[in-house]
Amino acid sequence: MLNTSEVVEVCAFRVGEHCFAIASAGVAEVLSSAAIAPVPLAPPAIVGLLHLRGRIVPVIDMRQSLGLPDRPPAAASTHLVIRLADDWYSLLVDEVLDVQTVGADRIEHPGKPVGGPAADAVTGVYADAHRLVHLVDPERVVQALHRQRTVPFVRHGDPHGG
């Protein structure tokens, strides 16, 4: 997919102990905090909805998506709001790090750094000065949630027990 002479600009973020990045072109904005309205019976990785200038944006918890341990209650989190075609999503991450430029030739095939429903959303890996950064395809993160089952409904019994 990537030509060896290409460079990509990515936005790096931290989730748990791991470092990830997505193409910065798709990033709409970063919100340090926002009121989240829960959505009953949504897949567990969807923590709710936030209201962003007239738009209703689903919030996806990246810890859940990538199979990482739940965020401790007091830990800080940040909304990385992205845009995929006409749909907007907020990726709930621990911390947004920086915007980096990566030569496509530095990107290698990933191992299996994470599990979770969106494990195959990790499409590549590269090393920056400090650590390994895993490239994430946000489209696949969303796709993975489409496949995820929601909590089954409570069945309503027959009024006559028959």
Binding site: A37, V39, P40, I46, I56, D87, H146, F153, V154, H156
Partner: protein, 756 residues
């Protein structure tokens, strides 16, 4: 580069404009067929063709140019009077319009005119213009001249017949004039304006909650409030389009279908200026076309059959659109053979949809509804016995998908009327904001029948009214007016928390979806800040989630208001990720900035697998009817003490008299896009209205066709009846009297239907 993209823009504009012009051409040509001497109309047709020809030359579309040139030539001969309009002429002109459409479609898709050769048609047009009778042998059904002539003759023979299309009595020139005062705006732009207005509403709400005691500030906030409301209403209106956008196609469709089916059909169109959200206009196009096709194919009989039955040769197909209770009703009515109820009944039994005994007991109106069953009407047996054609289930599904309803009425031998009701817009709707646990949710108000408080078990025979949940071992139900309705505990259903041990608190929202009625048990309410003084009754009007002071008023007297907070909400899409859950139709942002999901009741019904409501045993019903029913007691403008069954009351409002807008010989109360008809209680009692005070109270009751308001001077109390209703005391507008609070009180007759 810039030039190229500009050119593209112009071409796009040309395509859109031409498409509209072609529709106009269809209508003009049909009108001309009926009145060939109408020079003004001929001139209009000529101008339209000339415009298309000119533009095609400008963009270098040579085929289009050649074709319209031939057409223009032919029209020129007509205009000079050297050629008389006959079927050959109209036939070839229709062919030209179709060919132009085809070329435009090709240009739209590929940017070029395509390979199709229209030279033969151009030759034919020229030959017809030359008056050469050897050419122009009818090839396509649209050109089959015979029935069309008869239609024209019939129209000429019966000039008193209802007017044809709206185009027939409105000069085309005037329509053009209207076009010049409008501009084309990208739909996305309108969408962002609406979003921004939504934002403004939220900012306004914030401002209102912080505004200080400074009277100047208060006044300014009030002004901003008013402007914001007006702005939102106006912004919503920009999405509305006259339903003519759909109706305009029908004169041509009807003509072609009539020719193809060998029918003679007079089309009348009424209320084409009724406005509807443009997205909905697109959604009703196919269902309506289907209904029209059915009416001609299966409804209206062939001319000889009609004559044999003593009807006029030409059948009448009437399309009507009008506003009704905040919705738009579209009616497709034919005077054909009607639907044979017995054939439908037999078919329903044969298909196992209903038992023979049950079918025998069902009224004809109910039997007719079976034609909406999937696959039902495809049966040839029904079609050949003059039933409806294929796919009524598809019509119903499509209409229901946009929150509408379809029903059918038919009188054998006299015709069929199909009535489609759709909301004005899906962008804004009234909704009930409810609370379950810590979750707030919105229920579309169109589906809400009533709110009923639950009655604690300990209060079994108390006079506080309310209902109890029964059938705990099976599925929970409530008993309401002799019917057992299944109920869903919202907290349990949405897995918000364990089912509360205490199941006798809260409120049941009775909703109706399709033909299913069920109850949703909620905790109650959003507890909002107290309504500000001077805002009583008007806050229902404010958008995006303001609390409804009318509900506060209800709270005082009825106690059910605690569960209800009515808001006009702006519906926002939630995206595929959440839509797949199947329980939410969208989301909205309330006045406090909170995001609230809108329940998809149809999805809920499916997911909960609720059994249908059924009739309770009659004994218990009689008992419930005897006494203990609760009534809202009011005083009318003339001072009469009257009562209304509380079950029928949806909510109460206190409004300035000026808010009631006259509409014909009645009044309506406007709430966002919805109109509620309001009738004075004194008028119901057969008296004249008293001179009005500044403000009046309006009791909004559920009627068969939606909410109806009853204007009274004062709302006194909610009281449980001490005696059964005594029908012997019925008089005009009154169905009886009973003792309420120790005073004999007349009960307003809501059952007979309200005269508004």
């Amino acid at each position: 580069m810039v030039g190229a993209s500009h050119n593209e823009e112009f071409i796009q504009e040309f395509l859109v404009e031409s498409a509209e012009n072609l529709d106009q051409l269809d209508r003009d040509l049909i009108a001309l067929e009926q009145a060939p001497a109408d020079e003004e109309r001929l001139a209009s047709i000529f101008r339209t063709v000339h415009t298309i020809k000119g533009n095609s030359g400008f963009f270098g579309f040579s085929k289009l140019g050649a074709l319209t040139h031939s057409g223009e030539h032919l029209l020129g001969r007509l205009r000079d009077g050297t050629l008389v309009l006959d079927d050959r002429v109209t036939g070839s002109l229709y062919s030209m319009i179709d060919a132009v459409r085809e070329i435009l479609r090709t240009i739209q898709a590929t940017g070029a005119e395509g390979d199709h050769d229209f030279r033969e048609l151009a030759h034919r047009l020229t030959a017809v213009a030359a008056g050469d009778p050897a050419t122009a042998s009818p090839a396509v059904p649209a050109e089959n001249p015979v029935p069309a002539t008869r239609a024209a003759e019939a129209a000429a023979a019966a000039p008193s017949a209802s007017p044809a299309s709206p185009g027939a009595d409105r000069p085309a020139a005037a329509e053009r004039g209207a076009g010049e005062s409008s501009i084309r705006v990208d739909v996305g732009l309108v969408g962002s304006i609406l979003d921004l207005v939504g934002e403004l509403v939220l900012a306004r709400n914030e401002l209102r909650s912080v505004s200080a005691d400074d009277p100047a500030m208060v006044a300014a906030v009030h002004r901003i409030n008013a402007v914001t409301n007006a702005l939102q209403e106006t912004a919503v209106k920009t999405r509305l389009q006259p339903i003519d956008h759909v109706f305009n196609k029908f004169p041509r469709t009807v003509r072609d279908l009539a020719v193809a089916c060998g029918r003679e059909v007079q089309l009348t169109i009424d209320g084409g200026d009724t406005e509807l959200d443009r997205t909905l206009i697109e959604s009703i196009r196919d269902p309506l076309t289907h209904l029209v096709r059915n009416a001609i194919d299966h409804g209206i009989e062939p001319p000889d059959v009609r004559v044999a039955r003593g009807k006029p040769r030409a059948g009448t197909l009437a399309l009507r659109a009008f506003n009704e209770s905040g919705q738009v009703t579209i009616q497709v009515e034919d005077d054909g053979g009607g639907i044979l109820v017995e054939a439908v009944r037999d078919k329903a039994i044969a298909r196992g949809l209903v038992s023979a005994e049950a079918a025998a007991a069902l009224p004809d109106e109910r039997i007719l509804q079976f034609i909406f069953e999937p696959g039902f009407s495809t049966a040839a047996a029904v079609t050949s016995v003059s039933g409806r054609g294929v796919g009524m289930d598809v019509v119903k599904t499509n209409i229901e998908a946009i929150g509408g309803t379809v029903d059918v009425h038919s009188r054998p031998g006299c015709g069929t009327t199909v009535r489609v009701r759709v909301p004005l817009t899906l962008a804004i709707m009234p909704a009930l904001i409810v609370r379950s646990g810590s979750q707030r949710l919105a229920i579309p108000q169109a589906a809400v029948r009533e709110l009923v408080p639950l009655r604690p078990d300990s209060d079994r025979h108390g006079d506080r009214g309310g209902l109890r949940i029964e059938g705990l071992e099976g599925g929970p139900v409530i008993r309401l007016r002799g019917r057992l309705l299944p109920v869903v505990f919202l907290d349990e259903f949405l897995a918000l928390r364990e089912r509360t041990a205490c199941r006798d608190r809260g409120t049941v929202v009775i909703v109706r979806v399709d033909d299913h009625e069920f109850g949703i048990v909620i905790d109650g309410v959003r507890h909002d800040r107290p309504a500000e003084a001077g805002e009583q009754g008007s806050a229902i009007h404010t958008h995006a989630g303001d609390a409804l002071p009318a509900a506060a008023a209800t709270r005082g007297v009825a106690g059910i208001g605690e569960a209800a907070s009515l808001s006009t909400v702006v519906v926002k899409p939630i995206g595929g990720l959440l839509a797949q859950i199947g329980l939410y139709a969208g989301a909205t942002v309330l006045g406090d900035g909170g995001v609230v999901l809108i329940l998809d009741l149809r999805g809920m019904l499916r997911a909960a697998e609720l059994p249908p409501a059924r009739d309770a045993d009659p004994e218990a019903t009689a008992d419930a009817m005897a006494a203990g029913e609760r009534y809202l007691v009011c005083r009318t403008g003339r001072g009469r003490r009257i009562a209304l069954p509380l079950e029928r009351v949806i909510h109460l409002e206190n409004v300035p008299v000026a808010d009631l807008q006259p509409l014909g010989d009645r009044h309506v109360l406007r709430r966002g896009p919805a109109f509620t008809p309001v009738v004075d209680a004194d008028r119901l009692l057969g008296e004249s209205s008293a001179s009005a005070e500044d403000r009046i109270s309006v009791v909004v009751c559920g009627g068969p066709d939606g909410p109806v308001g009853i204007a009274v001077r004062q709302i006194l109390d909610v009281v449980a009846s001490e005696t059964p209703l005594q029908p012997a005391l019925a008089t005009s507008g009154v169905c009886g009297a009973l003792a309420l609070g120790g005073v004999a009180t007349e009960v307003l007759d809501l059952a007979r239907g309200l005269p508004c």
